[in-house]
């Protein structure tokens, strides 16, 4: 979605701690890539979209973040958003979170992916046009219809009825 939500006051419905935990998690799920020229899911524009989307499932997302903090407390004696940005530490907590709370982890990953893969820069990096399907649509090759020739030559094989 590019920068269109960058000035959105998103995140107001989550606490600062929840927002930080979510940002840390989404950056961990989809990190930036120099190789592919891609931002992380914690990029300002993308994270604004993530927060706006998460607000539509506020209760479920807050529950998931509580479960993440619970796991983080167990593993590292601290809330997830307050942990040092050590990728090994974060990845260890995240893995335990996925094992113990697969549904909640799946929800947060789904919101992350939904928003990340509609970002202008990400779509362009995937050789996509940064636009919705309608109204322009897409071109599809007809393909090689001569492939059907051997099937055309096949005798009818439906079952006869009494």
């Amino acid at each position: 979605m590019g920068d269109q939500h960058s000035t959105d006051a998103a995140g107001e419905s989550f606490t600062a701690e929840e927002t930080q935990a979510l940002k840390t998690l989404v950056e961990m799920i989809i990190p930036a890539s120099q190789e592919y020229g891609l931002p992380s899911a914690g990029d300002t524009a993308i994270f604004t979209d993530i927060l706006a989307t998460a607000r539509s499932q506020q209760v479920e997302v807050s529950t998931a973040l509580s479960a993440l903090d619970e796991v983080s407390q167990d593993c590292q004696d601290g809330d997830f958003g307050a942990l040092p940005l050590d990728q090994d530490v974060l990845a260890g907590v995240a893995e335990t979170f996925r094992q113990r709370h697969p549904a909640e982890a799946g929800l947060l990953a789904a919101i992350t992916a939904q928003c990340y893969y509609r970002d202008d820069r990400v779509m362009r990096a995937l050789d996509m046009e940064a636009r919705p399907p309608h109204p322009l649509g897409y071109t599809l090759n007809q393909g090689d219809w001569s492939l059907l020739d051997p099937v055309r030559d096949r005798p009818e094989f439906f079952r006869k009825t009494p």
Partner: protein, 534 residues
């Protein structure tokens, strides 16, 4: 002021309700259709926005329990491994279907005679032939004549959907194995048709076609039916069908969009609410004369629920395929459609080839199946899947079993307080063996086509697209709910025209047959108007 009784009251404006309304309109009777959902607004469909894939998981989700729109009713389905998919609005399930539009085979109507299981239909394929043709004209069908899997397949259609890269790759796989495949019949216009524009490959068929190329009945039958005088009322949720002392239907009680109880009297009532909605209303229509629900002297209302158990077989290819571009469907195979005594199951299935997925769907599939990791490696793994997945689903014939059923949940209700349907369903051993077979054969095809990695799932949990059998058709009132032209055995001015009346499910998508049946029943009604209730 009490409204005067109308001639025909149709409940439900989906695939069958639209067809029966249009067909009956020529009688000039006063016809009203009550639909619990709204008119659709194609300009608001997901494909018009950048969040089109996400909306397929929210307001355009196929599960009413996930969608939870005002028009939806909840479904208690904890006791079923397959969850119901539907859409409540003008067009019904055709708003969200993929438009895969095969016909039944002659053998599908004679399952008992041929295989000694289930029951034969009281009608045959030839009876439906003119109604298939009429429905094809109203909906608009693309495809190719000459399929050797069907007898006399010589009906002209619009040109088939493109093979594209995905269809071509998988067709090569079938050819290497010398197995059947054929361009799918689809209810998708590949050239301008009846005021609709042609397909431009939006790739979002299953969340409504903003282009209007896909034949949902809100843009096919309904404009014609309304122009012919049928009245369509939206946001009207029927609670029950009322009866008089003679056991004849007198009309319905429904809730309007404000939740206010209303009554509408009618001389004829037609149910077109699908295989879950129809038994729900019948079972909720209890009276002194019908203590077990209306039209239920056989005890079979709600029983014999059939889904089509679906198996998914997807392959990962090295070369780039079509991905998100184009309708999901392109070709089909019926190599394993008919019963083969050498197998350990009866009946068979159709392979529907699936073209590919958008980026969000690819990411979600990869994340859920452990093919895309969190963190380092995400991007590389994603690129290994994006635009590189294609495959097929096997739509397996489901045989009727009385213990698979729709009842009324004792606690769960919709927003108007009407009891919600409860689904109790178990997969048969026959279905499990059929899905196993489909996974093995489908994997062979994909490997022959060059797939390097194969992902399977069976059954597809949220794949209860087809709802059939819960008010079955038959000649014996003790073993069926409606007769051979859709009239209730018990209530002579009550008709059912949706998938509930299916005797068996065949191994193909049912919409084309549902609509042909609705037209057939409408024709029977028109021919018998003088003695319709005899």
């Amino acid at each position: 002021m009490t409204e005067q009784p109308i001639d025909v009251l149709i409940i439900g404006a989906g695939a069958s309700g639209a067809a029966v309304a249009w067909s009956l309109a020529e009688t000039r009777m006063r016809i009203v259709c009550l639909e619990q959902g709204d008119m659709m607004k194609p300009a608001d469909y997901p494909s018009t926005g950048r969040d089109w894939e996400a909306r397929g998981q929210s307001d355009f989700a196929i599960s009413p329990n996930q969608r939870r729109l005002a028009a939806d009713y909840p479904i208690a389905e904890e006791d079923s491994p397959i969850k119901v998919a539907n859409y409540n609005g003008v067009g019904g399930g055709t708003v969200l279907y993929a438009g895969h539009f095969p016909r039944f085979h002659p053998s599908d109507f004679r399952v008992n005679s041929l295989d000694g299981v289930a029951d034969d239909w009281p009608i045959d394929c030839a009876t439906l032939a003119p109604h298939y043709a009429e429905n094809d004209r109203m909906m608009g069908v693309a495809g190719l004549p000459g399929d050797p899997a069907y007898p006399g397949d010589n009906v002209k259609r619009m040109p088939p959907l493109p093979l594209g890269k995905s269809g071509e790759a998988i067709a090569r796989g079938f050819n290497k194995l010398n197995w059947h495949w054929w361009p799918s019949d689809t209810a998708i216009a590949t050239e301008p048709y009846d005021g609709r524009d042609k397909c431009i490959n939006l790739g979002a068929c299953v969340s409504g076609c903003a282009q209007g190329a896909k034949a949902s009945t809100d843009i096919t039958y309904w404009p014609h039916a309304i122009r012919a005088g049928v009245e369509l009322r939206t946001r009207c949720r029927v609670r029950e069908i009322t009866v008089d002392a003679d056991g004849m239907a007198t009309g319905v009680i429904y809730y309007d969009g404000d939740g206010v109880e209303q009554a509408l009297q009618a001389h004829v009532v037609v149910l077109a609410c699908n295989g879950v909605g129809t038994p729900r209303i019948l079972l909720n229509s209890k009276s002194t004369a019908f203590p077990d629900g209306l039209a239920n002297s056989s005890g079979l209302v709600g029983r014999n629920l059939m889904f089509h158990p679906y198996a998914s077989i997807m392959g990962v290819f090295d070369e780039a395929l079509d991905g998100y571009k184009g309708p999901g469907k392109c070709i089909r195979s019926q190599e394993f459609y008919e019963t083969d005594a050498a197998r350990d199951f009866v009946r068979g299935y159709t392979f529907e080839i699936h073209r590919g997925f958008g980026p969000v769907s690819t990411a979600l599939m990869g994340l859920q199946r452990g093919r895309i990791p969190w963190g380092v490696g995400h991007h590389q793994a994603f690129r290994g899947l994006f635009n590189r997945i294609a495959g097929m689903v096997a739509i397996c014939e489901d045989l009727p079993e009385e213990h698979n059923r729709v009842t009324l949940d004792p606690e769960l209700t919709d927003s108007d307080g009407i009891p919600a349907p409860k689904i109790s369903y178990t997969l048969s051993q026959n279905s499990r063996k059929m899905m196993d077979h489909a996974i093995e054969r489908g994997s062979e095809v994909l490997r022959a086509a060059g797939a390097r990695d194969i992902m399977t799932q069976a059954p597809i949990s949220y794949g209860g697209w087809h709802l059939m059998g819960t008010a079955r058709m038959g000649l014996d009132p003790a073993r069926s709910v409606v007769n051979d032209w859709g009239r209730s055995h018990d209530v002579k001015n009550l008709f059912v025209v949706d998938g509930s009346i299916f005797v068996t499910s065949a191994g193909v998508n049912p919409t084309r047959t549902i609509q042909a049946l609705a037209l057939y029943i409408a024709e029977q009604m028109k021919q018998r108007l003088a003695n319709l209730f005899d």
